[in-house]
């Protein structure tokens, strides 16, 4: 071959690796965010076709404005009692997180994960849906159990892997399982629950049942194939399921750009699957409620799945094993332009005359007291290593019936 006739590329290529706006030592910078004003985003009819509402994947549904007023077409017009229940459940969730985080520091458990800043999501959605619907959560939806009145002491028993652990010392702390509270068993392998939620929803539809499923996945895990498989199945079989993407900006130390969140929104990923997509202020209890209610109505009227991106910020470390000061500006959470979900709902309730500082202080105190009482009860049973289920249970429930290998191996352990 004659080299002179071969086409030459003119420039060397370079690899692009996205980086967040700030690293440790930098001032937080959220200038790149495009945030719609509260009330600015349209609310389509529940039966609208996905192609008629693509803009919603790029906007941001917000109800509470900066003054704390509920405005616009997405205002769910909740009664004050529901709002107060929501606020109290969020306060309780944060108090629970704080105590369990401390318990880890005191060596009482091996691991913990807080949901600081994301409380509105699980609490609003947990309150809104029936516990007969099935939630397929990640490890940051503890608010779902708390909002539904699951006993705090049972959560703690699981965190301590003690003798009363409902799942018998087999799972990491925080990986709860509570079927009668509509809380599916949590997996450590990220994203696996999303197509399972679709399958559960398909089963409900197949049986002519009236239950729906709801799942959550983090922004980081949307890069897993499971997420895309789930969207395909949800679309193809019109499964009655709500598929949440909790975009809390961080997947351990990787910012959401590494999961593909810079080039487009996570909500917009639904568009290619023909699914309706809502992008919602995840720190706005009312917006989360309203969007979920919209998706719920759609699912319950057999019109299929909705993808909801909940735009929020992971205020706490990823887990007790993580130190976010190593990879992001230290005060970034404080500067999050969408505020704190508890403070925002509090502000709204105060504004409408249904709450005040005394009641708030009282609620904080009551939450701490409730958590402390549960803590005492759980710690009386034992913290990690002090008490645990019978070792015999280690060999149980591997199969519906034990096989000879497990019988022999159990005998080897001497139980």
């Amino acid at each position: 071959m004659n080299d002179k006739n071969m086409k030459k590329n003119s420039q060397p290529l370079s690899l692009h690796v996205p980086e967040p706006a700030g690293r440790p030592g930098d001032a937080p910078d959220f200038g790149h965010l495009v945030l719609d004003a509260a009330g600015a985003v349209e609310r389509p009819e529940v039966g609208a076709k996905p192609y008629e509402m693509r803009d919603l994947a790029f906007g941001l549904i917000r109800v509470l404005d900066d003054a704390g007023e509920a405005v616009g077409p997405w205002n769910p017009r909740l009664d004050p009692e529901t709002l107060r229940r929501g606020l109290k459940a969020m306060i309780l969730t944060r108090a629970f997180d704080d105590r369990m985080h401390r318990a880890h520091r005191q060596g009482k458990t091996s691991f913990y994960m807080k949901c600081t800043g994301e409380e509105a999501i699980a609490v609003a959605q947990g309150m809104l849906l029936s516990r007969e619907d099935m939630g397929f959560p990640t490890y940051r939806q503890q608010g779902l159990l708390i909002a539904r009145g699951y006993p705090l002491v049972d959560m703690m028993n699981q965190i301590y892997s003690n003798a009363a652990d409902p799942i018998k010392g087999r799972q990491l702390p925080i990986m709860y399982s509570a079927k009668d509270h509509g809380f599916f068993t949590i997996s450590g392998n990220l994203g696996t629950q999303v197509p399972q939620a679709v399958g559960w929803a398909m089963a409900s539809a197949y049986k002519g049942d009236d239950k729906i499923a709801i799942s959550w996945i983090g922004d980081g895990a949307t890069a897993e194939g499971d997420f895309h498989n789930a969207l395909t199945f949800a679309s193809v079989y019109r499964a009655p399921v709500i598929l949440n993407v909790v975009n809390n900006q961080w997947a351990i130390s990787s910012f959401m750009g590494i999961a593909g969140g810079l080039e487009t929104t996570f909500a917009s990923k639904a568009i290619g699957y023909g699914l309706p997509a809502l992008r919602v202020d995840g720190n706005d209890f009312l917006a989360v409620w309203a969007a979920t209610q919209w998706a719920e109505e759609r699912a319950r009227s057999n019109q299929g799945a909705t993808v909801i991106e909940l735009f929020t910020y992971r205020g706490a470390p990823h887990s007790t094993s993580d130190d976010p000061s190593r990879y992001r500006p230290g005060d970034e959470h404080d500067k999050w332009p969408l505020g704190d979900p508890i403070e925002r709902l509090r502000q709204h309730l105060v504004l409408i005359g249904e709450w005040d500082d005394d009641r708030h202080a009282e609620a904080l105190k009551a939450a701490v007291e409730q958590v402390r009482a549960a803590g005492k009860e759980a710690e009386a049973i034992g913290t990690l290593g002090q008490s645990r289920p019978s070792v015999k249970t280690m060999f149980e429930e591997v199969y519906a019936t034990e096989d000879w290998r497990l019988v022999e191996q159990r005998r080897e352990v001497g139980v």
Partner: protein
């Protein structure tokens, strides 16, 4: 060979007995279960309208309806994950992975999710799903249509692994798998789908209807998972095999002229250790045959078990006849495939290499 006709006839609840090939028998198992239990449904790639590329789910959609037997996207992971969700709801889905070689995209859902569901949830959620998949070589499928991945699943706590070798067992075992409360990986030897295999690839294949084990009841019956079948009684050496290799083992024993006892394991997990142990203690020798590569294949586990339990009865080292530790080659299929000659060689070796 043991007469298998008497028992099935008396156990069958349906009208009669018909000669069936393995495809028809598997189809009949799903069909009968779907008719009996509205919670049973079947799906997979091409598995609905068309009835599957091997036709195992043929006409189930026409008989039971579009929502009970349907096509799925080309997403093995999605298929298994959806089945897991359905199982958690309370259904008993039977899903098809078109070839066992395609099961790897679904591996995480099978081993991390289905297998662990009961255990990790403290018994609150279960995964009573059946994952069917044609496996194995002998049909010139090349490396992506010939693999035997069973040992990747036998290693996983919480899974059952079942492999039939004939139409009668295929129907009875698949019925048991559908009714099982645990996830079952059900590998179907595609070399045996349309007819038996006498072990010698050069020879023409005779139809299943000429085989005793092809007389299949049309109604419901269950073959319990975890029971091996003694295919040939013998006194000098025990051959452990499953799937297609059962027929290779029988041919190899005949070719070697050795009084071998051939055991069809039928289920690798749970394993019928009693039958294995009793046989090896009787014969004092053991040859293991499987198609999967040798290293870390299920034969290694069987060999270790025999050694642990029967060492003082052994007259010779345990021998393994397996596929090679290479990818499955298209043009060298018969050099790869463990045939009767290699089994015969192993038999002669253990007969003469003893103490």
């Amino acid at each position: 060979m043991v007469d298998q006709n008497a028992a099935p006839a008396s156990e069958a609840t349906g009208a009669g007995i018909q000669p069936m090939n393995m495809i028809q028998a598997l189809n009949s198992a799903i069909d009968v279960k779907m008719a009996e239990d509205p919670d049973v449904l079947s799906f997979g790639e091409d598995a609905g309208y068309f009835g599957g590329v091997f036709r195992v789910t043929d006409k189930l959609q026409q008989k039971h309806g579009l929502t009970r037997s349907f096509d799925a996207p080309i997403s093995e992971c999605g298929i298994v994950a959806a089945a897991i969700g359905m199982g958690a709801y309370g259904l008993r889905p039977v899903v098809e992975i078109q070839f066992a070689d395609y099961i790897y995209p679904a591996y995480d859902q099978i081993v991390s999710e289905a297998a662990k569901m009961r255990y990790r949830s403290g018994g609150q959620f279960t995964s009573p799903i059946t994952i069917r998949s044609p496996y194995g070589g002998g049909i010139f499928g090349g490396q992506t249509h010939s693999q035997s991945p069973e040992s990747l699943f036998t290693h996983i706590a919480g899974l059952k692994v079942v492999i039939p070798s004939n139409p009668y067992d295929a129907k009875g075992l698949l019925t048991a798998a559908i009714e099982d409360d645990d996830p079952v990986v059900f590998f179907e030897p595609k070399r045996l789908y349309n007819g038996p295999f006498d072990g010698w690839h050069e020879k023409p294949v005779s139809p299943w209807k000429t085989q005793d084990l092809a007389q299949v009841p049309t109604g419901k019956y269950v073959e319990p998972i975890g029971k091996a079948r003694v295919m040939r009684e013998g006194n000098d050496v025990t051959i452990l095999a499953y799937g297609t290799m059962v027929w290779v083992a029988l041919a190899g024993a005949e070719h070697a002229g050795v009084d071998a006892e051939v055991i069809d394991l039928r289920s690798l997990v749970p394993l019928d250790i009693e039958t294995i142990e009793a046989s090896v203690k009787k014969t004092g020798r053991c040859v293991i045959v499987h198609e999967a590569p040798k290293t870390s294949g299920f034969g290694g586990e069987l060999s270790a078990l025999v050694q642990e339990r029967c060492f003082y009865h052994l007259e010779a080292p345990v021998a393994r006849v397996t596929g090679w530790d290479t990818p499955y080659p298209h043009a060298f299929e018969w050099e790869y495939f463990p045939g009767p000659q290699r089994v015969a060689d192993a038999l002669k070796s253990v007969m003469t290499g003893g103490r």
